[in-house]
């Protein structure tokens, strides 16, 4: 087991290197620099700025310097917002994104598993149809449609929650409800469908029949025996689910004007703030890669059939 974990950890390194390298070079070969303003800068000023940020060095040197800095945890200065460095921006906005993401994924898992299990246990009743209808909506309707529509109905027409704002900025805690639901919807749908189908499979298997024949209570069968077996597909879906939450948060943060990392990311891509873009992508990737790692470990613990060779 330890060997497996170590090997998986080592496997993360090339992925991260590829990500950093790729985003670094995509950004550098791009036409147009961060200092392209409406007014052309005098040649001397421009050269000075470029020297300050080491943009006048050969690309390989810049790359090496950047790699070295990143390994020390320093993501460099922001090209656009003078006097601040990327770390500062990330530390300021990342907590907001993490809060939103954690709440959303918890909602998705909790409600997804519950409604999927209910649908499977009460197959072909209205419970089943309702939860599967919701799941179809979640899979078919993109979240940038769900977000504004929820906002229109619940914030603007019914006025149950504020239209925008963020609770860490002093607004009411209710501001988190709509963004979290929006972000959770797609993953909720997939998890519900996965849980339902794998639960149906499990309920038909022999060991459940044995448990029933022994006269075990239904609730005990479901929670103690069936649930464990039917969670495997759900756990393996969690990796893509985290990726979905991260990309989804870009839209949700834009729609609900949340000061999170996703909003920053879109802004900095428009501004061509090289270091900030690469910094955000690196942070996202580290989160994603480690989440995938954890999911893999959980998966291998749940399924004793997996060998660690």
């Amino acid at each position: 087991m330890t060997k497996y974990i170590v090997r998986r950890l080592l496997g993360i390194i090339p992925t991260l290197l590829v990500i950093i390298t790729l985003s670094f070079f995509i950004v550098r070969v791009a036409p147009g620099g961060p200092f392209d303003t409406e007014k052309a800068l005098p040649e001397v000023v421009k050269r000075n700025i470029e020297a300050k940020y080491h943009l006048d060095e050969p690309l390989v040197m810049q790359y090496g310097r950047y790699m070295f800095d990143v390994l020390r945890g320093d993501l460099g200065p922001s090209f656009r917002y003078k006097d601040w460095d990327v770390n500062f921006y990330i530390f300021q906005s990342l907590p907001n994104s993490i809060i939103l993401g954690v709440i959303a994924i918890s909602i998705a898992i909790l409600f997804g598993i519950t409604s999927g299990m209910l649908a499977a246990v009460k197959q072909n009743t209205w419970v089943d149809y309702l939860s599967m209808a919701l799941a179809v909506v979640g899979i078919s309707v993109p979240l940038f449609v769900i977000g504004p529509v929820l906002q229109y109905i619940f914030a603007m027409q019914l006025q149950w929650v504020p239209t925008s704002g963020w609770f860490t900025a002093g607004d009411s805690w209710k501001t988190i409800i709509l963004p979290a639901i929006t972000l959770a919807f797609a993953d909720f749908a997939t998890i519900a469908r996965l849980t339902r189908s794998s639960m149906l499979d499990t309920l038909r298997s022999d060991y459940i029949r044995t448990a029933k024949a022994k006269g075990m209570r239904t609730s005990l069968i479901i929670f103690k025996h069936a649930m464990k077996g039917s969670m495997l597909p759900v756990v393996s879906y969690l990796g893509p689910a985290f990726a979905g939450i991260i990309t989804g948060s870009v839209v949700v943060e834009t729609v609900f004007r949340i000061p999170g990392l996703g909003k920053f990311f879109v802004q900095s891509s428009f501004n061509r703030d090289y270091t900030l873009i690469v910094g955000v992508v690196i942070v996202y990737s580290v989160i994603l890669v480690f989440m995938n790692f954890i999911v893999d470990i959980i998966y291998s613990m749940l399924d004793p059939r997996i060998t660690y060779k």
Binding site: I19, I26, S140, F144, P148, V149, L200, S285
Partner: protein, 532 residues
């Protein structure tokens, strides 16, 4: 050579036995699935609308009418009537604010509450009704200034004419032959334009030379940044002198024809306006008009404010319905072409990996693994933001990342098929690797590929829309479902229809595609029922 008719197979009771292929079987199962059939119909309707969009009787998707901004969707009212209502409710609201339009205290309270909640549309609607009632009763009157505004608006609505020039001809005075100006030589065109304006040709030549240089230099500026003004001018000159005489003439021609068209348009408009005061023309019409003695044009003209917008207009006064239809064209095209490309890449790489195995397999699958670990949407966002936001880039960015899953699936399928007897038979007869893969293995995993592709299309459309929503995908004046929704989000409180119509249209299509995909999967692989 015609093949001989197949001998009919008979069983031991001499009954004819019909063969049943996999696809036939699947089709039979699909037809039984009601949702899938409905979905097929819906998808077909969408495709038909998207393909026939250029010949449908709808307005152009990029035609901006400034007076028609944010008009309500209406099945019965013309845009003129809607403009009129809008102006009235504006004026009534103003009058209510100035306490000239008096309402009861209870009503006032409700109105104030709406204002506080930011529900301006309700206030406008209410005051429009109330004001019209009071005006009819005589308890409210317009001020002189307001009356003038309304009179002007009425006149404007009655008289504004919209003209499109389709063709312009010059009649040769000696032969009496009509020549389309797009077929004329540059020299004659310049002469014609000078005659139209009544000026000598020299200033026209100077002007178009200047304009063409400007536009070329702008083109260069879009391609290369970081240059000084002088360098741009130099590069533009260089490019123009590099150009062949024919290409340069083309530029001049386009420039002059555009100018002639706009001049002809102005002149025709002037004539029609003086006509309109005598009300001798009926609109809309499509006919030939002579502009001067030698120049004539085929002209389409309509009353500007007789236009009807069944789904309303957007913030620039463009018809939302035609924008949605053209947007469907873009979205569906990207969905189909993108899926096709990614499936093609995925099938080729996946089958190579699966069939050849060994180092090739290892290499391809490691690439897939690493790419799976990437937050690829973020990389696409960066790529779109940096390399320019056009449809081609969008499409490439999406196709490059979306072949991963299909290649894994095809690899799995092929690995399970490649040790079967029929492959061995093909190999023993000396079939080449390519032949075995594309003649035997791929057709046998086609059902999986078809099902996956169908389910892939909606997710492709979603991704494209996602980027367009953020402003990184399709750029104005083009539209896609995502960019329409994205444009609408800002003005959602006041103009909710701008959000809802594209959202509904998009959702219905995505629903249909998902149901169709599910139906196809159940049809091709009945055992997988209830699986995701």
């Amino acid at each position: 050579m015609k093949r001989e008719q197949k001998a009919k197979a008979t069983n031991e009771f001499n009954q004819v036995v019909m063969g049943n292929s996999l696809s036939k079987d699947a089709w039979r199962r699909l037809r039984k699935n009601k949702m899938a059939v409905i979905s097929v119909v819906i998808v077909a309707i969408y495709m038909l609308l998207a393909i026939t969009a250029p010949i449908l009787p709808i307005y152009s998707y990029d035609e901006i009418v400034n007076e028609h901004q944010n008009l309500l969707p209406s099945l019965t009212k013309t845009s003129g009537e809607l403009m009129w209502d809008k102006k009235l409710s504006d004026l009534y609201t103003q009058a209510w604010r100035q306490n000239r339009l008096t309402v009861t205290d209870a009503e006032n309270e409700i109105l104030e509450a709406w204002v506080l909640k930011g529900q301006a549309t309700k206030v406008w609607d209410y005051l429009l009704e109330e004001g019209n009632r009071q005006l009819a009763e005589g308890s409210f009157e317009w001020s002189a200034a307001e009356k003038r505004t309304l009179d002007n608006l009425e006149k404007k609505i009655a008289s504004d004419i919209q003209i499109t020039i389709q063709k312009v001809w010059q009649t040769n005075q000696e032969t009496g032959k009509k020549i389309n100006i797009s077929k004329m030589a540059v020299k004659d065109l310049v002469q014609l334009y000078a005659d139209l304006l009544g000026v000598p040709t020299e200033p026209i030549v100077t002007q178009y030379t200047y304009e063409i240089t400007e536009s070329v230099s702008k083109e260069i500026q879009a391609e290369v940044t970081d240059l000084s003004k002088e360098e741009y001018a130099l590069m533009a000159e260089q490019r123009l002198s590099d150009m062949s005489g024919k290409d340069y003439d083309k530029l001049i021609k386009a420039n002059i024809i555009a100018k002639i068209n706009s001049t002809v348009k102005d002149m025709a408009l002037y004539e029609l306006k003086s006509d309109a005061s005598q009300a001798s023309t009926t609109y809309p019409f499509d006919k030939e008009m002579s502009i001067t003695d030698t120049v004539s044009a085929s002209i389409k003209a309509a009353k500007m404010h007789d236009r009807r917008y069944y789904l309303g207009t957007d913030r620039l006064g463009r018809d939302l319905m035609s924008r949605i239809i053209y947007g469907s064209q873009v979205s569906i095209a990207i969905g189909l072409i993108g899926t096709f490309t990614s499936v093609l890449i995925g099938v080729i790489l996946g089958s190579l990996a699966g069939y050849i195995g060994g180092k090739v397999d290892y290499f391809i699958m490691r690439v897939v693994d690493i790419m799976y670990g990437l937050p690829y949407m973020l990389l696409v966002i960066i790529a779109m933001a940096i390399f320019g936001r056009n449809i081609l880039n969008l499409f490439f960015a999406l196709a490059i990342i979306s072949w991963l899953t299909i290649s894994r699936m095809v690899r799995g399928q092929i690995m399970s098929l490649k040790n079967q007897e029929f492959i061995e038979a093909a190999r023993s007869m000396g079939a080449s690797t390519g032949r075995i893969i594309f003649k035997h293995l791929v057709p046998n995993s086609l059902s999986v590929i078809i099902v996956f592709s169908t389910l892939r299309i909606p997710s492709f459309i979603m991704t494209e829309s996602f980027l367009s929503f953020l402003g990184l995908g399709v750029q104005a004046p083009f539209a896609s479902w995502g960019s329409l929704v994205g444009d609408a989000v800002g003005g959602m409180t006041l103009y909710p229809w701008r959000l809802f119509f594209p959202a509904i249209v998009m959702t219905i299509f995505l629903f249909a595609m998902n149901f169709l995909g599910d139906g196809l999967r159940d049809a091709f692989d009945p055992q997988s029922k209830n699986q995701l």
